[in-house]
Symmetry: C2
Subunit: 553 residues, 2 copies
């Protein structure tokens, strides 16, 4: 058989390393290297390593053994078999922890520290002769990020775990401290196994924040101590709840993987379900036609002008906030429906008797709920309306999620608040799946079209901001609202697409989608090997031929 | 606690039976009835029942035992528990076969008969006192359809399998003989388990045709006897193939579930991969930039003017057609790229030496390939271009799939061919998931927007047709092209959405989406119980409250 052109090409392309997110500084060579069958990971200078670091090392071993990710080239690496067989072997990786202070903290402790204080950087060196591989960080969280990178350096062929690009030298740290994923567990309930699988997948691409939109108008699955009636009457069924033990489980699972869990109790809107247990606190509960009272069914909002409702909500938020160790807690604040309150006699009476405008009442309500968050030692997260649509006083350290449009980022920055990018025009995973209102034959997704990975990857976190304002950006996240999702399509809607923001906010903006795509195919194929149902971004023919399915190829 | 309004509502809505597709004639009562713990299914008057009928009865037992589908109402049926406990019990269902001729055929034999000759009708009667349940059909295929319906009559609560709507009387038969689903296994490969699970799901909603777009330009997974080099060189990998034994397995599995498997070898376009094994037969193989030579990469088409290529193709189609017992076989015919041939010196030489125009050559090519299909005792299926864009002679019994636009149906009807609705503007499951070309940051799906179930459900198969032309419509199908699908999202892209065309072509057009939705929720929930990863069409809050999430609720 003739030596066909694609074979030469395949040798070249095998060097497209499956790193995601791309490290800040990466140098590679052209020497094959493979892992020794006796490959080991050593900890250096940590005499009592935290259990979660030891566990992370164990997971790294497992991934190295079970990933079996073949190079995405037409021959899947076969033409390199001889070179791999003759390659030097790497027998160990040494982890070296050089903490700034003497005390060694666990990954879990570091993962839940204030997002602006974490150290996630590391350096990783793998020499071509196999003599040395060293991972250095000044935090266990940094070591964990480096382990994640190390696990992505290798392909598999005929039982060999190899790279063709030694020596490898990486110096890495995130461009933005906040790299998140939001999951809505109120429209649809997701069992713990789904959440944990999602946390694992997030950690593989160095995401560090799970924004848990745990309750909403449709259901209240969170069992909050002292407020058990909310989930007893408001969960979809008795089994579809997250108990305090479940929450501890999720929080611990996440933290051990470098992920902080920010919980949200959205207020005062998106609270219809509270009427099941506490009807006295909800205006316009399940009022019809719903479209007059809410952006989606069922209608219902907290009676924000009622002193007893304010007290109830503040207590609820205190209780819920205390379930989560994160330094952030979200009180929501999106999509407040004015008509619901206008038609609620109780609210109108309260406003009238207090001589307050709606905005004044909202401010009073907000001060009370935010005081609960602050009293728990946390910073508040709100949706953009609390800054742009209303006139409430917010503490300077409040983080604002901009969701309606990326065009609103500058306005939030002008007010001086910290910004978390969550714009529907870039990061909403649910867009494009058609209108879900039952009787709307020609209904499209409100945020059509579908947001491709290319779209979110191309986002500029600093667009429209002054040099000073750029410092307000904490990072950003993909978001999954679950009107049309359940465990059946959780993985397939999220992965590998959400990895695009993971790289954007780790490596920084400006990446080239053409160059990124081969690595993102690797992400998808690796995720499948690890049990996450990532979808195909292109036909496999394209995945095996970098660039061949570009428009301008 | 007060008797809240929704409880009265729930009693009412529990009677929304989970039947899908809706039977032609259905009458129900208001008497609770439950299955006896010793419930049995008897065959009457069939002394040697076909094995596939016996197996279908066994599957029905299993579903009745394992579905455990709770009524989709807020209390999941709990308010009816007393009525269910006190209900009469049904101890048996009797199947009565009254064949038109004396000979009893198996479901499998009947399922693969010419689509215009099959008998799928049945009557089903369940008396309220539990004394009698009878399923009558004059074909085993009809009995199978009736068993499928019987399996949908029941909800589960506290260990009881019950209905609240006895007596039930159903007389049923399909409006259209062809109700299909197309799967492309060339852009992405799907293991047999995925195909079989899909066939099961199809049978649950009485679909009867699996259109297997088995090969395409990207890969050739079909192992064709005498043409093994095609899959050896053209499959994505040696494991990603369908052997003749696999095909027999799929065909038998489908037929036992009332499903005919129509295979397609798309010609002369969509054949790039043939160049891997037979480069002499392919024009412009993998030519770049691909967009000049094909609608998607890789480019490559059969050299349709070459006598040796015509002979090769006719033989390939003979060999492939003989692998499938269906009375239909598709030779494709879509998206022929003129520029590919214009730039192919070999094709231009052939045309020139034969003194033929391109269209004349295409006609010669088509006569040869169609003769192979006819020689195998089958009718040809083609895509619409073979009728509307080209000038080839087709036998009268050719079935034409209209895919580009439903607006083209009338033009096909004017030419007098049989029509299978497959329009991208109603039935393409892949639309709306964004552009997949690698470097196209703002690319949208070419057939945006997403086709909702409501959209396909609202399709009128007779739109624009005269009374006479209406008789040309065989039915229609949903289609999944797999540029952006793999096993990870097969179920979630297809189900429950594709069930909308299953009902459309069984019950007939004109259905009300508002009335259909509660039953379609039942479909999704039942599919999940049976291991098919159907997605949520709405938040569960809506699924439990029929009509509450309509726009005009």
């Amino acid at each position: 058989m003739l030596l066909r052109p694609f074979i030469a090409l395949s040798l070249l392309l095998t060097s497209s390393k499956a790193l995601w997110p791309l490290p800040q500084h990466l140098s590679t060579g052209t020497t094959p290297l493979r892992l020794s069958p006796n490959f080991q990971i050593h900890l250096s200078g940590v005499y009592h390593p935290p259990a979660d670091l030891v566990a992370a090392v164990e997971r790294t071993y497992n991934y190295l053994r079970t990933d079996k990710l073949q190079a995405l080239v037409p021959d899947r690496g076969a033409s390199s078999l001889g070179a791999i067989q003759n390659a030097n072997t790497l027998s160990s990786l040494t982890l070296s922890l050089t903490p700034a202070s003497g005390k060694v903290k666990s990954i879990s402790e570091e993962a839940i520290a204030d997002v602006e204080t974490r150290a996630e950087g590391y350096t990783l060196t793998v020499l071509a002769d196999g003599s040395t591989a060293v991972l250095i960080a000044n935090s266990t969280l940094g070591l964990f990020r480096g382990l994640t990178t190390f696990g992505q350096l290798w392909y598999e062929l005929s039982g060999y775990t190899y790279t063709l690009t030694a020596p490898i030298s990486i110096t890495d740290a995130p461009a933005y401290p906040y790299r998140g994923l939001m999951l809505d567990t109120a429209r649809s309930f997701f069992p713990l196994a789904d959440i944990k699988r999602t946390l694992d997948a997030m950690s593989w691409v160095k995401m560090n924040t799970f924004h848990w939109h745990v309750v909403d108008s449709q259901s209240f699955p969170l069992v909050v101590p002292g407020f058990e009636a909310l989930s007893e009457k408001g969960a979809y069924n008795p089994a579809s709840v997250y108990t305090p033990k479940d929450v501890q489980d999720v929080v611990a699972y996440a933290a051990a993987r470098g992920i902080d869990v920010i919980a949200e109790i959205d207020t005062p809107g998106h609270t219809s379900v509270i009427s099941k247990a506490f009807p006295e606190h909800i205006a316009c509960p399940e009022a019809t036609p719903w479209s007059l009272y809410a952006n989606e069914p069922p209608a219902g909002q907290l009676r924000l002008a009622s002193p007893s409702t304010i007290s109830f909500t503040a207590d609820l938020i205190s209780a819920a906030a205390s379930m989560f160790p994160s330094k952030f807690f979200s009180t929501g604040g999106d999509e407040i429906n004015a008509n619901c309150y206008a038609k609620d006699a109780s609210t109108q009476n309260d406003l009238s008797s207090q001589g307050k405008s709606f905005e004044q009442a909202l401010d009073t309500f907000t001060q009370a709920t935010h005081a609960s968050v602050h009293a728990a030692g946390k910073r508040v997260v709100v949706w953009e309306e609390m800054v742009l649509a209303h006139n409430v006083t917010l503490r300077n350290d409040t983080a604002v999620m901009v969701w309606i449009s990326s065009a609103n980022v500058a306005a939030v920055a002008q007010k001086g608040f910290k910004i978390i990018h969550a714009a529907s025009d870039y990061f909403y995973l649910d867009c494009g799946h058609g209108g879900w209102v039952g009787d709307n034959v020609n209904g499209n997704s409100w945020c059509d079209p579908f947001k491709t990975w290319q779209k979110s990857y191309s986002f500029d976190p600093a667009a429209g901001l002054t040099e000073t304002q750029k410092g307000l950006v904490l990072g950003g996240q993909h978001l999954l609202w679950t009107e049309q999702s359940n465990p059946s399509n959780l993985d397939s809607i999220v992965w590998p697409r959400a990895a695009s923001s993971a790289e954007l906010f780790w490596f920084g903006p400006g990446g080239d989608v053409s160059k990124a795509l081969p690595r993102l195919h690797d992400v998808a194929y690796r995720f499948i090997q690890r049990g996450v149902r990532a979808i195909a971004l292109q036909p496999e023919w394209c995945a095996l031929r970098a660039g061949a399915c570009d428009l301008f190829a």
